[in-house]
């Protein structure tokens, strides 16, 4: 461990440097957003926008957090929207992962007629973008009486081809010895899943949770369509309502401030998930 060249000082320095360049590029838009959230609107409109934070920061954030979004007629309070987003993101993330992990498990660890057909059926959901099938999906949801309900908001989004695919990839890499050992111990497939596979899948699950959470958090088109009750609005819809349509004015500084605040929960999720990113597998497990 200590002899590895990548752990030497130049190796570490190189790693840090690469990361910093990466952060500079990927985080540049975020920095711009932050600067914009500390300026006044006329300052943002005068080209070019300054690259250094301004002095309106306290005022802008105070306005967003305390006074809420504008007059309060168009959107519910910020905290309610954040709460709605949180629920939606959690339910979708947990739902998608649960449903996909057992599907992937079934496709990989068993042999049954229609196995590959089922896999492709699930996989094919990636191939038709939501914008295309949105009209008929709306009809189905209406027919089932799920309009303006939480179930209608989340159920259609629960199937996940991406998660199934990723987990299938991972399950295919697990050594046969593991399965044989479990069988010899007399463990059935469910025991094997719960006791052996699930802990091994930690890292993948952590990554998936982050992705699915963000996916749920950023849902825009579907909630807009399904929900008429303002009180179910998510924060992303709330931000969209801040952005003026057509020629109307937009308080870009407030939009940016709200956007950054809305990024905090997902950021927290990313941070928390780090614990599951266990470095390598403990040798005894392999």
């Amino acid at each position: 461990m200590n002899n590895s060249p990548s752990h030497s000082l130049p190796g570490q320095a190189l790693a840090h440097a690469v990361i910093w360049i990466g952060i500079a590029i990927t985080a540049l838009p975020l920095y711009i957003a932050f600067v914009a959230s500390t300026l006044s609107n006329p300052d943002i409109a005068q080209a070019p926008m300054p690259l250094w934070p301004g002095d309106q920061g306290w005022e802008n954030y105070r306005q967003v957090i305390i006074e809420g979004m504008q007059g309060g007629h168009l959107s519910p309070p910020v905290w309610l929207m954040l709460f709605n987003s949180l629920i939606m993101a959690l339910v979708i993330a947990v739902g998608k992962i649960s449903v996909s992990i057992i599907s992937a498990y079934a496709v990989v660890f068993f042999r049954f007629p229609g196995r590959m057909f089922c896999f492709w059926l699930i996989f094919i959901t990636l191939m038709l973008p939501v914008e295309v099938r949105i009209l008929p999906t709306y009809e189905v949801v209406t027919d089932l009486g799920l309009l303006n309900t939480f179930a209608g908001l989340t159920l259609p989004l629960i199937a996940s081809a991406t998660a199934t695919l990723l987990l299938r990839q991972f399950f295919l890499t697990l050594p046969d010895e593991l399965v044989e050992a479990a069988k010899m111990d007399g463990a059935g497939p469910l025991r094997f899943f719960w006791d052996v596979v699930l802990p091994l899948t930690r890292t993948q699950l952590a990554a998936l949770f982050v992705i699915m959470f963000v996916y749920g958090w950023n849902q825009y088109l579907w909630p807009l369509l399904i929900v008429t009750d303002q009180n179910l609005d998510t924060i992303v819809v709330g931000i969209a309502k801040l952005i003026g349509t057509g020629d109307a004015t937009t308080d870009w500084n407030l939009v940016m401030a709200t956007t950054l605040l809305a990024l905090l929960p997902p950021a927290l999720v990313v941070l928390l998930m780090q614990k599951w990113f266990v470095k390598g597998l403990v040798d005894s497990e392999k």
Binding site: P42, Q70, F150, L224, K241, L242, A248, T249
Partner: protein, 450 residues
């Protein structure tokens, strides 16, 4: 460890979901059940706030109905939502649809109920002549009936930077009235380097195609600009339109004209001071006033003086309110719709709407009310757009148009003119291609509604 976390996550999610569902289910039950009226709109920000508040005001003023105003995305998304809802048998009661979408709404016979009929069936007095003539022409039938109710109305104007004018040696109190004057001013601004660019325009198709032809009372399409039916054809490939597009192309190299992108993007060039003049919707005033750092002037759109009778009135933009036809609408719901629409067109609401949002008063009575209250004297320049609609000369082709798929046809205009501005084709080719592709769209639309 992992398992515990998963279980914890599950429990959390389940508890949270349950509480959310419970909270929603406990939404205050009305003491006396009101009939719900759904209105979908495409406005956000200050405008959306105000329209939502109007809904709440209406709810407070009576006990029978509860209007729910909700934002359903920008106009295209909102329209898709309405289409989906209609197909599922459950469209909103009222929907706000933007100008370009009118043709699609009207030609689908059976999808909507003309607003005049809605008032008539509900027994509420309604005089279409109240609405300003350009709006009546746009959304009305030859017999005077209105198909939809004009609500947020705008038109195109010329904004200019007085300070830049002074720098260039131009008189800031005498903005250009004709295109030759406009071109000369732009060139002078560039020569004296009073600004990086002479003029730019937003909403290229709306201003350079629709407003431009109205200003000169020129036909855009056959069958009375499409009002006669879905069999109309475009007729814009003529000398006047070619001249206009060619002018834009010719002025580019010296940046007397600088293209700023589709929709509203070019406004940023004017607000930041880069361009000295801006052709823009009247609704763009608030942004300019808030963020611009120069003295502002407003004028009517320029015209070509050699066109007989010009300048004519400009046309309207914005949106109107449509009533959907649904099989399960009750008489009571229809009455509620009429009452709310009546509320919205009242002078009190209209004047507050016009004052706050920068949209124009859509009725003559609200315009006069604002005049009498001294609004226009206190806010010079705010009367320019409304006057360019009602005081300028009306003509056969200043009443707007009615084509299906117009949003896409506007896109085609953007594409073809942009290609010409890129230098990849001439103005004549651009207009020819536009006509060809636009007519293909019109034919496809015609087939779909027959």
């Amino acid at each position: 460890m992992a398992l515990k976390k998963t279980l914890l996550a599950y429990t959390l999610a389940f508890a949270a979901a349950t509480s959310a569902v419970v909270a929603h289910a406990q939404a205050p039950a009305a003491a006396q059940p009101r009939t719900e009226i759904q209105m979908w709109m495409g406005l956000t920000g200050v405008n959306g706030e105000l329209l939502s508040r109007f809904g709440e005001d209406f709810n407070r003023s009576q006990n029978e109905y509860r209007v729910v105003v909700s934002f359903r995305g920008q106009y295209p998304e909102q329209r898709a939502a309405a289409m989906a809802a209609f197909r599922a048998g459950n469209p909103p009661h009222i929907m706000q649809m933007f100008d370009a979408g009118s043709g699609d709404m009207i030609q689908s016979r059976g999808a909507i109920i003309p607003v005049s009929q809605v008032f008539q069936r509900a027994g509420i007095a309604f005089n279409p002549a109240d609405f300003i003539a350009p709006a009546r022409g746009y959304y009305g039938l030859p017999n005077g009936e209105l198909l939809s109710m004009p609500f947020n109305v705008s038109t195109a104007v010329l904004f200019y930077n007085r300070d830049a004018f002074t720098r260039a040696g131009l008189d800031p109190n005498r903005p250009p009235r004709t295109w030759p004057e406009m071109i000369a001013a732009a060139k002078q601004i560039r020569e004296r380097n009073a600004a990086e660019c002479g003029f730019t325009t937003t909403w290229l198709a709306w201003i350079m195609l629709e407003q431009f032809n109205a200003r000169h009372n020129q036909q855009i399409g056959t069958l009375d600009n499409g009002r006669g039916g879905a069999a109309s054809e475009l007729t814009v490939n003529n000398a006047l339109n070619q001249r206009m597009v060619q002018t834009l192309i010719d002025l580019q190299p010296t940046r007397a004209f600088s293209y700023g992108g589709r929709s509203n993007d070019a406004a940023a060039k004017f607000i930041s001071g880069q361009c000295a003049m801006l052709l823009q919707s009247s609704g763009g005033l608030a942004a300019i006033q808030r963020d611009g750092r120069f003295a502002l002037g407003t004028a009517q759109l320029p015209h070509w003086p050699d066109v007989q009778g010009a300048p004519f009135a400009t046309t309207i933009g914005g949106a109107s309110l449509w009533v959907f036809n649904a099989p399960n609408r009750t008489q009571q719901e229809m009455r509620g719709i009429a009452m709310f629409l009546d509320f919205l067109r009242s002078d009190r609401v209209m004047t507050e709407w016009a004052r706050t949002t920068g949209f124009l008063p859509a009725t003559y009575s609200s315009f006069r009310a604002m005049q009498q209250a001294g609004f226009f004297t206190q806010n010079p320049g705010r009367d320019v757009p409304i006057l360019s609609l009602i005081e300028a000369r009306q003509g056969q082709f200043t009443q707007g148009y009615r084509f299906g798929r117009w949003t896409e046809i506007r896109n085609i205009y953007y594409e073809e003119v942009e290609r010409a501005l890129q230098g990849r084709q001439t103005a004549a080719q651009a207009l020819r291609n536009f006509e060809r592709r636009g007519n293909a769209q019109l034919r496809a639309f015609e087939r779909s509604v027959n």
